[in-house]
Symmetry: D2
Subunit: 315 residues, 4 copies
Amino acid sequence: MELTKQQKQEIADQQSQNNQTKRVTSPELEKILYQAIPILDHGFIRVVDYMGDDTSVVQAARVSYGKGTKKVSTDEGLIRYLMRHWHSTPFEMCEIKYHVKLPIFIARQWIRHRTANVNEYSARYSILDKEFYIPTSDHLAAQSSNNRQGRGEVLNGDQAKEVLNILKDDAERTYKNYETMLNEKFDGSVIDENKNGLARELARMNLTLNSYTQWYWKTDLLNLMNFLFLRADKHAQYEIRVYAEAMLDTLKKWVPITHAAFLDYRIGAAHVSAKGLNVIKSFMNGKSLNHETSGLSKREWNELMDVLGKQDLII
Amino acid sequence: MELTKQQKQEIADQQSQNNQTKRVTSPELEKILYQAIPILDHGFIRVVDYMGDDTSVVQAARVSYGKGTKKVSTDEGLIRYLMRHWHSTPFEMCEIKYHVKLPIFIARQWIRHRTANVNEYSARYSILDKEFYIPTSDHLAAQSSNNRQGRGEVLNGDQAKEVLNILKDDAERTYKNYETMLNEKFDGSVIDENKNGLARELARMNLTLNSYTQWYWKTDLLNLMNFLFLRADKHAQYEIRVYAEAMLDTLKKWVPITHAAFLDYRIGAAHVSAKGLNVIKSFMNGKSLNHETSGLSKREWNELMDVLGKQDLII
Amino acid sequence: MELTKQQKQEIADQQSQNNQTKRVTSPELEKILYQAIPILDHGFIRVVDYMGDDTSVVQAARVSYGKGTKKVSTDEGLIRYLMRHWHSTPFEMCEIKYHVKLPIFIARQWIRHRTANVNEYSARYSILDKEFYIPTSDHLAAQSSNNRQGRGEVLNGDQAKEVLNILKDDAERTYKNYETMLNEKFDGSVIDENKNGLARELARMNLTLNSYTQWYWKTDLLNLMNFLFLRADKHAQYEIRVYAEAMLDTLKKWVPITHAAFLDYRIGAAHVSAKGLNVIKSFMNGKSLNHETSGLSKREWNELMDVLGKQDLII
Amino acid sequence: MELTKQQKQEIADQQSQNNQTKRVTSPELEKILYQAIPILDHGFIRVVDYMGDDTSVVQAARVSYGKGTKKVSTDEGLIRYLMRHWHSTPFEMCEIKYHVKLPIFIARQWIRHRTANVNEYSARYSILDKEFYIPTSDHLAAQSSNNRQGRGEVLNGDQAKEVLNILKDDAERTYKNYETMLNEKFDGSVIDENKNGLARELARMNLTLNSYTQWYWKTDLLNLMNFLFLRADKHAQYEIRVYAEAMLDTLKKWVPITHAAFLDYRIGAAHVSAKGLNVIKSFMNGKSLNHETSGLSKREWNELMDVLGKQDLII
């Protein structure tokens, strides 16, 4: 990621602010506020605002439960209790806003999380930057043969080279033709003074889905965790997972107690079905059910054995 | 409204915070942060946190517009443009959190605004305060004879006195019986050591709807304005309108430019139907349509004449 | 629950409809459409409309995955796969609408589920029915001594009698005073022709929280299951759980395959934290961790032992 | 739009259903249920399910109002009243589901309407159809010179031809390269048996934004009207407006009374600011304010004169 001189100056200006406030602050998050954290080849995330911290979760819970929370002696104990018992509303009392630069095909996945506020750079109004996502060759994986939404082995060198050439050539050609149709270059200079340019809202349709866009994305702490739970997961597409992982770091700086509880009760936890529970009980009683007698499908059986660390029982 | 000594101490503690932040701040709002603004006889609102200010709206819009905004020279011009053309998403980029104490029958109206985060004091866990809303006699209005959701004239003295007696007696009696069933007084003292108390989640059902509850209520700037548009309106019930009016003051302190645009384009604006537009055009062309030829119902006609300041044409 | 003659007639009229449609239908649900299923002493639920069935979930998933779903041979297999992997959007493609009559203190819990459409009977416009929830004596439980939101033992006979008397007396008195203030009886007859009645929007504040209200409540299949997961749970308050249980029956009639998957993967499933998983693995390897070495709090340990059927290890 | 033989068969099968139901039906909508209405060159909309009709709006409002509605004698009067006074919740009681095929750059606009349920064809799982939107030459407009989000004159013949050639060539080349990278043709045939194909979730990034995608899109009547208000507007981009206009026709078939009220109070209505109202009042009193004395910006003044049919006063 290369920021322009102007962008660097804007970020420096934002970071040099030193305001007084009676609001709660999150000191670790303040340290990285506005900073652009590079993701992929041209993307980034920046935390540009936030509201509340761990104590805001506690404060909201104590309003709900009133005198009933006296018994839970520590903030940490209370936050862990809330997380464990799916008491979700106190986590909605904190809010965070990111500025994100990301490829359009990833933006299309991301936007499916509806409980968030979004302002996206509009290619109806403005010319998109001349930047496209081109994967590194170690991320050029083949289609998985047994999982329709997954990746298999990395492509061999020759094929990887061919793929990279295609991606680069097509992105550059379509962008150049985008400029031709607009009759305007990405830097704003007019190509032919005697011609009109095609409307921006039309010309953009020629761009490829790896073009970068950017947006402001704001959500509350609960919905941020819902997003991270799905997108920091190993089954998520690599290109969105790297964003989620960087955001997981900002979560830790912002609300460290909530972050620790989130790792224990969500990211590292397992959801076991009624039938799966029967298998576990049987194992614990020394009467090992096998796949046939478990009532589980082969796939479910293997998923459960994986969760239980019984790799030898995967069939 | 009487705050307890403990509440006053908590507010003083919150107000004495003096933190450094790189976030934008709203200086006028900071001045009243955490302060309890009295509403009705025992209620209040307090702003307890916020995120963003007028510049956050502009910043979000400029991401939308990128380089395209050069022509809109000022922040004020842009905010007014956004408001006028119903570009709603930039206003979602600011967030505010209130602590509100309010009668339950008003809380039931309020909660119908779904796009907000709420943590309410739970009467399953804790004993509700011994506080009920009793209107002043000048708000004891009769049922309107021509508007099923409105109020008519104020009740005469004797009847008002009778109503106030009923409201006070019934609230006090049901609360006393609530304590009896709980076997516990509002101050936490046990009534009869040899008895169990009824579960709180059951005993609360004996309370009247004018009992006070409290909650944290958090929403974004757009949805706050949607709430205020409906609830600060003259047709809103008086007991919720006084909350909305106090919140309108906090809006002005928080985002003064947005507040001014909101008054011009929403609160003070009029929505005119296609048929109503025809009436206006006819008036302006000197060919006054009357009610019969307008195609409007009597009620619509009168509403339009009222908006146009033509009280003499109301039929 | 006693329906009025007029209500019975309206239900009979609705049920006698026999329309032709090209839409998918759910034959078992059609059988009970519009029928009032009694809940508590005066409440009910009625399914009054629906859209889609199990095949609609499948159809939506097949649009998402396109040719990718060919391998999953059966509708049941696909629905179970979706449920297991938290693929939530296909379940949003079905919609259901209930007419519900319920006590106000339960309506206040229910409304916290925001992703639903609601039209409630308005006591600003109309007079509320003269009906209050009075529990049967076997549901008059004492406050739990170890769980602030739970119930303990049933109250003894004398105390139960006292509580029931209070609840009945207070509900009847406050309702009678409600009529007095309105200057109108629940049947619409005016009490004193020479008096005005207090505005309905004010008089209602004198009613107790066990008064019955009613509403139309519409939601999609996903959010219905979210509601049922929380409210059909044994920790939910009895008075809302009975509604959830009746709705669970309607779920079974409507979408039997989804219902079965819901029981297996949600209602009967367990969520095990990272630390809890370590305990299970240790048990399965014959090296039983105990509470001290597990890193779990006492409460978490006991919850886990309960899920695993190890009642003897509860401490 | 060309449907495949298989698609035609599926539609015929769906249309041949003839089920009995006790639910309300909308006879005019039933006539076109499942039918593909062509939009643009390869797109379509199809209504594939619905719930409720005009009477469902009335029914929900009467629950809200209970006995209070006697004065509103007709369903039409009530629906018009609700629309005029922004009583939105009764319109949420109806639901509709569309199957839509549309270009990706339009899908990206459409998805910004968050209050809807969506299942989109996934290019992570499946190969996208070989179909791209290519405008007809009379829609190839130049960028507007005075409105950054608008279109100006149509491009002249030579330039239009050049643009069309670019759009076709680039779409075809990038699609061909998509197949090459996948090592699989759009018809499912493998290109080179000795090679792996690039993962679908990666290969898709090479496609241009005018590629067609498809989804199921479900929303309630209120949010459908919100969508149509913005997208059937003359300022909406042509390529989404044609979808909105076709949906407006389905609205008329589904809920004719609501549709008529929507045209009068929304589509054909005007929103006039406080300052704009002063201008109208001054005109009606014969003291014409001009732009300078009005306090309106030039743009606002012109918008108002346009609404009032005073084209001669536009400056």
